[in-house]
Symmetry: C2
Subunit: 617 residues, 2 copies
């Protein structure tokens, strides 16, 4: 992969060096030299031919040199791995991941590599919101150089998830499209507002055209789109979709030429339904893939990642080799990386799993680039920490006091009327009309929801019903705007939580009786911990316990916040443009320019404009 040749010394030149490495690999392939690792006596899951076959495998350096019946030559430094009783398969490849569900890219590696996933195609939304295109490029570079056992590849966002005044500048094509040329970038990230694709907005068509010209991909997000509407989405150049939630939607996407991903995780556990497209409709699986699509840390800790999907698929009656191809060869082929990944064959990177059987999918060991990185569910190669602080990914904030400003959490005038957002699930809200602010407290059963500009310029306010009605005050940057989302029933507690998050430079804080009782710093782009997976998992557990105690019933305690501010999900949403009716596009209520009209003034607004980094300049 091109990503491999970078960041090395230039003597000899990368091309000559690569040729020399290959020449050594060939000497092992020919049996003239010993390899680094010899796997003998196992059963190969041959994803190319669709067979299970006995085979020995020899690796040298990062790559596979030999696959076949020959007894490997063992040198003094060759490690011999006895695979009798084990199956050898290519490691899993996640084609549509997110690395920022409290965990960061390094923490995610710790969590999912032991289950066998060694490649993940992620995307840069929050990197971009925090630090623009150059911040994204810095992060991609740092992650590539960190030598993680999980190979991170990338898709690039070409539009935001939530409208705000700086959006047009932040996602300007001249800022965003050059990122598509990076070797670690495989295409355009999911275009969540698919009606813009359907309508053929020029920016979307231009981005898709650029990806196509570069031989790269355009990830779709066509939640709920009918077969009829999908026609225009496919015609726009979208190449894949992961949003099917029924077997029929799988068929609709596949038949129109989209590579189709079957999704299953805390976000939506849909596989039992989706698998019917194979077991009942009988669709060919050649262009189907599996994706976990960003589960929360708790779900990963309990269930795993792509390994969890493989267990389910095989239990549902899909033949194991067919299931494994959907998590290996197909994503590699989709991204044009099948010469590098996705199968066990000479010349490929040695990303392997050794499996005791083809039902449990709990690897005996996991190998990435020829190194053993996990054994029996535990990492054996340490994950070097990434110095996130040096990457300029922290969110800029106005002074914390601005968010403790009592006016934000009190009526501007007695009896002020706010729109009421009814939360129905993690992903769905409804419009609930308008309700007056009687006294200081929210209406019964409702919370006050405030989306406050990190720069202190504006605030969008609404009632929120159906959502953890017992909360006194919680604040977080973990939402699709990265601005400060503050929810609660108690003005003092909301103010305290909000000020704490601003102090931390991003994260979660919960307060009660006006005092902060719990906080979770998320210094990386306002959404990720700086530490390892355990920190993310413990943080999620604490958040979930707190939210359950306050009455939250939705499946996922993190997406509950993330999606409240998304302007691509129905129906009423808090955004920088105010409370928006996503279906009609109408503004339900404009934002309150509290910073400009009162306490904050100009500087806050300027800071807000600067939050997209240099891309907003």
């Amino acid at each position: 992969m091109e990503a491999d040749g970078r960041g090395r010394g230039a003597v000899p030149g990368p091309e000559e060096e690569a040729a020399e490495e290959r020449a050594r690999l060939l000497a092992v392939a020919r049996g003239e030299q010993a390899g680094d690792v010899a796997f003998t006596g196992g059963t190969l899951v041959n994803v190319y031919s669709g067979e299970l076959l006995p085979a020995n495998v020899v690796t040298l350096g990062e790559r596979i040199a030999y696959v076949g019946a020959r007894e490997p030559r063992l040198g003094p430094a060759t490690r011999h791995v006895d695979c009798r009783g084990l199956c050898l398969a290519p490691a899993w490849f996640e084609p549509h991941g997110h690395h920022w569900l409290l965990y960061n890219p390094a923490g995610l590696a710790e969590a999912i590599v032991p289950g066998g996933t060694t490649t993940l195609v992620g995307e840069n939304l929050f990197l971009h919101l925090a630090a623009g295109a150059s911040g994204t490029a810095r992060c991609i570079r740092a992650v590539a150089d960190a030598g993680l056992p999980l190979r991170h590849l990338w898709l690039i966002r070409v539009m935001a998830q939530s409208g705000w005044e700086g959006e047009g500048r932040a996602f300007a094509p001249e800022a965003v499209l050059p990122l598509l040329e990076l070797p670690e970038v495989l295409g355009v990230a999911e275009i969540t507002r698919w009606p813009q694709v359907w309508r053929g907005e020029p920016g979307v068509l231009r981005a898709a055209g650029r990806a196509r010209a570069l031989g790269k991909r355009v990830d779709g997000h066509t939640a709920g789109a009918s077969h009829e509407k999908l026609n225009a989405v496919a015609a726009a150049g979208v190449t894949a979709c992961h949003e099917a939630i029924t077997a029929q939607e799988v068929a609709d996407r596949l038949r129109l030429g989209l590579w189709t991903m079957l999704r299953h995780s805390s976000l939506r556990p849909d596989l039992p339904e989706l698998v019917r497209a194979i077991t009942e409709t009988g669709l060919d699986t050649e262009r189907l893939m599996l994706t976990a699509d960003g589960p929360n840390p708790g779900w990963i800790g309990e269930n795993g990642y792509l390994d969890a999907m493989l267990r389910l698929l095989v239990r549902s009656g899909v033949p194991p080799v067919q299931a494994i191809r959907m998590a290996t060869l197909h994503p590699a082929t989709y991204y044009g990386l099948d010469g590098e990944l996705g199968g066990v064959a000479p010349g490929r990177l040695a990303d392997l799993v050794l499996l005791p059987d083809l039902e449990s999918f709990r690897p005996e060991s996991v190998w990435s680039r020829g190194r053993e990185v996990a054994r029996r569910g535990r990492l054996v190669a340490p994950v070097a920490p990434i110095d996130w602080g040096s990457l300029g990914l922290s969110l800029p904030f106005a002074a914390p006091a601005a968010f403790a400003d009592a006016r934000l959490y009190r009526p501007r005038a007695p009896g002020e009327v706010l729109p009421a957002v009814e939360a129905a699930s993690n992903a769905i809200t409804r419009g609930g009309g308008y309700l007056p602010w009687d006294g200081e407290s929210p209406p019964a059963g409702a919370l006050l929801a405030v989306l406050a500009d990190r720069g202190g310029g504006w605030a969008t306010r609404a009632w929120l019903r159906g959502f953890a009605a017992g909360l006194e005050g919680v604040a977080t940057t973990a939402n699709a705007t990265t601005h400060l989302l503050v929810l609660g029933r108690d003005a003092g507690s909301m103010a305290a939580a909000a000020a704490r998050v601003a102090e931390m430079g991003g994260g979660f804080a919960a307060a009660s009786g006006g005092r902060v009782e719990w906080s979770l710093p998320l210094p990386v782009a306002g959404l990720m911990v700086a530490g390892g997976f355990d920190e993310a998992r413990a943080g999620y557990a604490a958040l979930e316990a707190r939210m359950r105690a306050a009455g939250l019933t939705f499946a996922d305690a993190l997406y509950a916040f993330l999606f409240l501010t998304c302007d691509f999900l129905p129906a009423w949403r808090l955004t920088a443009r105010g409370v928006l009716d996503v279906r009609s596009g109408d503004l339900v209520a404009p934002p309150w320019e509290f910073g400009r009209s009162g306490s904050g003034g100009g500087p806050h607004a300027a800071a807000a404009r600067g939050t997209a980094g240099e891309a907003g300049a």
Copy 2:
């Protein structure tokens, strides 16, 4: 495809123009505008889902806009095609073709488009030998601009087929590798001397590395390579092979991660054997493709092209949709063009066939880029002639008299000893020891074979047995060296034929009694007619009749000449380096420097060095 955006005016810029075209396509996809062609009532061969489904299809310009149940909007300019009783499939895609078997790229289009093949990945060997890298680039451009109904895409040769003194310079990496960057070029062409790949020669590894870095492919040619040897070939980065001649060889290649092509044509009619890999071994077909690999014009005229293979596959028991995928979606996916070609889906180029059934594969009509180009076996769109003379692809020759030089066809001294090459088939020869030249005629049953430098500098001579022993004199440039191959029993006839070919600047000539009786000018790179397919077919028919009359028993009368000078086929071959034992690499007999030592002198040798055009400089 990138190839589409070139050669157009720059106002508006190609990117904006492309986005505008897409926007119009989307309006048709949404049903808001009428398309150019509406196909209704047919059965869609859905290569993505593996199904046969009723569907209407609407195109606009070059692309498909809509696929589904909707009744198409018909505008005043919309052509309505009633497809009741017909199947609609993507047009066939040839992943490994040659466009120079007497026909030229335009003539090949005439011949194979009516059978449904609208994309062919060819290669540049003879273009390069005639005119170097810049000649190749000119030809690729001219073919792309000709608007042929057959889309020619290209693989680039990185080494010659026959050693000669200028080879190293002609195929120098700095001359050859930049061609890989052309948008019409999809990778490195078949590396016929696969032992060089197996050994890991630096030039091969460098070329493969460059292709990989560009996201392109490396075509293999691993004739006879065992599973063990294929390991090093795959490790070198070769991505496909078309040389399997048994079901076992198909399995060997597929299992080691090579995309595997099943070949069938005049060169080798192997499909009845190869299909057993599917019908008996049960290999998965996901990475299998079909190739005709350069049949002679007679075979195409009688049998067809990929359509002939589809007929055979389905008759052999392969389900039709599975067979069709091997000639459509799989090659498109292999080359990373599945967003453009290989299936009937919105956004794809409208390359379609309408079939009365899924057995005969004789299209009712064929569409390329949204235009109907053939109907019931005949082209309906004229193929504009290409001005080959302007492309600088003609072969340079010394004065014709140099090739009439009687010394070439007579013993240098009484009883001179020459090596004897025994021809066993089109592709196989054997070493036959050494025989003396008694008197002026060749030994009984043998021909004299002379490979004469076009520049007049050297000549390699041998006896040739088992090959049309009745020939008095035939000469041709149609061999893998493009030098002048002269065969016969009669010195005067050989001299006359040789001089005629030199006069024509390439082609075939046959003489008897010292007089030329038949000739076929091949002015394009010494191997292709300048006219249409009929000229090539008639030329082949005349050649074949003449060769049969002289006793040739091999299946193909053209490959019989082409391969005599190939240094990658066993065993003894006539090359510029002399008579070579390909298996051992030993020189059986050196060439005779007749031009330098006698009549021709320096200028001839200099001209010989110049035959690879500027690449040889």
